[in-house]
């Protein structure tokens, strides 16, 4: 049946599909702020459209892409609350975990990955893979290896996960420096703790400063300048304590860098792609590259 719809001059008619595609186009171009605005416009004008949940989900993705972690988590939580049994619930849960992981809160993300593993079998391998990376971020090398080993054969993550399961264990044998040893050496001789860390410039500064202040204090007392000697001794206590703290601190930072460099060397390849297969459904493509 033909229906005549008059369009007055100055008016346009935007259909839901067009609005959704328009929002997606911004997302594809990486203009996530604008994409969020257009997805929200879609939700506002077409609240009963079947793609509303997808729009909410993609809002979360846009926020995540921009590093707006709190907003991303809220968007994904909204998707889950709107339809806990829906097709996007598991993916939204996974993405909440991903948001925590990207934020550097791997421990918190783990809670969500484990829930995905328990409740959404079709997303289990992706969650295990990310759980393994979360364990690596926390320097839990053995647990990371165990998580990677559980990725099932047939999963696109399998080959990479098997490699990571072996590589993760090397984290236990990294060339760490012992903070206690650094502190003891610094206490024995200012600068020696820094030399242990191969930080020779810092070692020289620590040695010279402590040496000068100690010598000055001794000379002051020797010359019967007790007040001056007392002041210099007080200051030297600060230099000496600072030297010890600096050596211990340096060892911790050295170990942190060794761990960071090791993780970087594993070349994180997981790429979480989200695509829409059109108005009929949503897909989450979890791809990775060598």
């Amino acid at each position: 049946m033909f229906v005549w719809t008059p369009v007055l001059a100055g008016e346009i008619v935007i259909r839901s599909g067009e609005q959704m595609d328009f929002a997606r186009s911004y997302m594809i171009k990486g203009q996530y702020d604008r994409a969020v605005g257009e997805f929200e416009r879609f939700i506002h004008f077409f609240p009963d459209d079947p793609e509303v949940e997808e729009a909410r989900y993609l809002i979360g993705v846009c926020h995540l892409k921009q590093g707006h972690y709190k907003a991303a988590k809220e968007a994904f939580a909204g998707v889950m609350q709107a339809d806990p049994k829906g097709p996007l619930a598991g993916k939204a849960l996974l993405m909440i975990g991903e948001s925590y992981y990207e934020q550097g809160l791997a421990g918190e993300g783990e809670i969500y990955f484990r829930q995905v593993i328990a409740e959404y079998p079709h997303l289990k391998d992706a969650a295990l893979y990310r759980l393994g990376w979360g364990k690596l971020a926390q320097n839990n090398w053995l647990e990371a290896s165990e998580a990677f080993q559980k990725v099932e054969q047939g999963s696109p993550f399998y080959d990479r996960a098997q490699g990571l399961a072996l590589e993760s264990l090397k984290g236990r044998d990294l060339p760490y420096k012992d903070p206690a040893s650094a502190g003891v050496l610094a206490a024995l001789l200012p600068g020696l703790g820094h030399a242990y860390l191969s930080r020779y410039k810092s070692a020289a500064v620590a040695f010279l400063l402590n040496g000068l202040f100690a010598w000055a204090a001794v000379e002051s007392f020797h010359e019967d300048h007790d007040v001056l000697g007392g002041i210099l001794t007080f200051l030297e206590i600060g230099w000496y304590s600072g030297n010890i703290y600096s050596a211990v601190n340096g060892a911790h930072k050295y170990n942190r860098k060794v761990q960071d460099d090791f993780r970087d060397s594993l070349k994180k390849d997981l790429n979480l792609h989200l695509f829409s297969s059109g108005r009929q459904g949503i897909g989450v493509a979890l791809t990775f590259r060598f």
């Binding site: 809160l105 930080r199 410039k201 810092s202 304590s241 600072g242 703290y245 600096s246 860098k257």
Partner: protein, 133 residues
């Protein structure tokens, strides 16, 4: 303490040494941590502020690190109190010479700086603020 603060003017070390990777570009609007109005009861922070506002101003910013040594000192005195603040200030002065071997380099207003905030030096014993799930 005056001698100590005087030595805050010593900033040995030039960034750009052994750290892998090019410096990261910080937004130009990035400011140093706002030490704000100093609490008159925090002696260490007050003395460090005195140095920063009246002595460091004379010869300009020569510190290779971000935040600068004086700003770092103010912040650490406020965060950890007098004694630990003093110890960590001394640590900063000692380790600045080759800190680029373990800390990242960043661009800050067109200059390469070593990113070395207070959190970079107390992470292993002071619980960091974390968002709760």
């Amino acid at each position: 303490m005056i001698l100590l603060l005087g030595l805050l003017g010593i900033c040995p070390g030039i960034p750009g040494g052994l750290h892998a990777g090019p410096p990261e570009l910080l937004p130009e609007t990035t400011r140093e941590p706002d030490s704000g109005q100093e609490d008159g009861t925090n002696l260490g922070a007050w003395l460090a502020t005195l140095f920063r506002d009246h002595i460091s101003e004379v010869d300009g910013d020569r510190c290779p690190s971000l935040p600068s040594c004086s700003a770092y000192s103010v912040e650490v005195f406020k965060k950890h109190g007098f004694f630990i603040g003093w110890v960590m200030t001394v640590d900063r002065l000692i380790h600045e010479a080759d800190e680029d071997s373990v800390s990242p380099l960043v661009y800050h207003y067109g200059k390469v700086k070593i990113l070395d905030p207070v959190e970079n030096n107390d992470f292993w014993w002071f619980p960091q603020e974390r968002e709760r799930p």
